[in-house]
Amino acid sequence: MSTGTGSVDLVGDETVENVARTALFAALVGAFAYVSFPNPFSTAPITLQVLGVFLAGIMLGPVWGGASMVLYLLAGALGAPVFSGGSAGVGALLGPTGGYLWSYPIAAAVTGVIVHGGLALDDPRRAGLARLVGGMVAGTAIIYALGIAGLMVVLGMGPVTAFVQGAAAFIPAEAFKIAAAVGIVRSDAVAAE
């Protein structure tokens, strides 16, 4: 162990709360990757990762929501089994689904900016339905745009085949997650800060 002789530089109370919440949300998105439901539109099951990205933007706001997705990617790259199928490693970020993963911080931040109407954190229950849904639709668009771009760059696919393989079967299922997220935010079960 190396020992320091400087005085202890304590983390401020508010930042401690934010660090804890950010890390737990990153872990929650990882845990959501293991929860799958049968997809009525395709044989590929629905996992809840993207719902976690939406919730990070809505509940933590754009800044900490984006930061929590950066943590998620970093922990996964360093070996936490948080990516789809319980995979991990730098390879996953450079693999076929890498484009989707890189989009998560951006999608969470954009969802947060739209829902909260800026960088400041507001009570998401006060946001109108249009704002909530609009934020998540924008997040979905970013995730799939970068996901398709990732497939084209990593696997050398054309745009049409990339869309067929990487988005066509999955986009309809996002409506269920958006509906579920609205229900979660509007319910009293989760007391939003």
Partner: protein, 234 residues
């Protein structure tokens, strides 16, 4: 599952930073030279790296089965043509080489995950990224590793509870909402307790980290990383 396993292989003894450098160099070289000849050379290198980490290739390949539909689908879909000859090998060549390149990169990253404990990865982050950003990322990574199994168990309980109350008869978005709300509510409760515990233990920006030192063992790894990086630029 692909996780750290204690061991005494050559790769286990390396500094995590040199292993990360090799991964970055390898990926850069593989993306820069996706030709059959370069990929053959990189395949030999992957075999050597797997041996240095005592990585079982068949078991590791099974871990990456999630990527199989994409890796196999890309050349098959790109090669399809609307009309005779129905499948064009020329169209499928680039995606096939790209898929193989991804497979090699996945294997190299698996060698890192298998041989590097969380504490070392965390220390590497905190010593590489300067200032409070590095501290935040290091602490956050450690917390994600710690809480992932806990939150998975929370979600399993939420799902079991939903099943027990005939929640499976509900429409899909309602089922998603029930499970996610259960998981989220428990995670938020844990957040409050974690924040209190962190404050009680004097959570600081300048903690004592495990010692990391680049030693003589790391020289070949760093040289390999530098060579791969240079090869990517040529």
């Amino acid at each position: 599952m692909l996780t750290y396993e204690p061991g005494d292989s050559f790769a286990h003894g390396l500094d995590p930073r040199s292993k990360l450098a090799v991964q970055v160099g390898f990926a850069a070289a593989a993306f820069a030279h996706t030709t059959p000849r370069a990929l053959a050379v990189l395949t030999v290198l992957v075999l050597a790296l797997a041996a240095a980490a005592r990585l079982s290739l068949p078991a590791t390949l099974r871990e990456f089965r999630f990527a199989a539909p994409f890796l196999a689908g890309a050349p098959l879909l790109e090669g399809l043509t609307l009309g005779p000859p129905w499948f064009s090998v020329a169209e499928a060549t680039v995606p096939a080489l790209s898929s193989y390149r991804v497979l090699l990169i996945l294997l190299v990253s698996a060698a890192y995950v298998r041989t590097t404990p969380v504490r070392d990865s965390r220390a590497a982050v905190q010593r590489t990224v300067p200032g409070r950003a590095g501290q935040f990322l290091g602490v956050g990574v450690a917390l994600v590793f710690r809480f992932l199994p806990v939150l998975q168990a929370d979600l399993r309980r939420a799902r079991d509870g939903m099943r027990a109350r005939l929640g499976t008869e509900q429409p899909l978005s309602e089922r998603i909402r029930l499970v996610a709300t259960g998981g989220l509510r428990r995670a938020l409760a844990r957040t409050d307790r974690l924040a209190l515990a962190l404050r009680a233990r004097c959570f600081a920006w300048n903690p004592t980290l495990p010692r990391l030192a680049l030693g003589r063992r790391d020289l070949p790894a760093l040289a390999l990383a530098a060579f791969l990086g240079a090869a990517a630029l040529l």
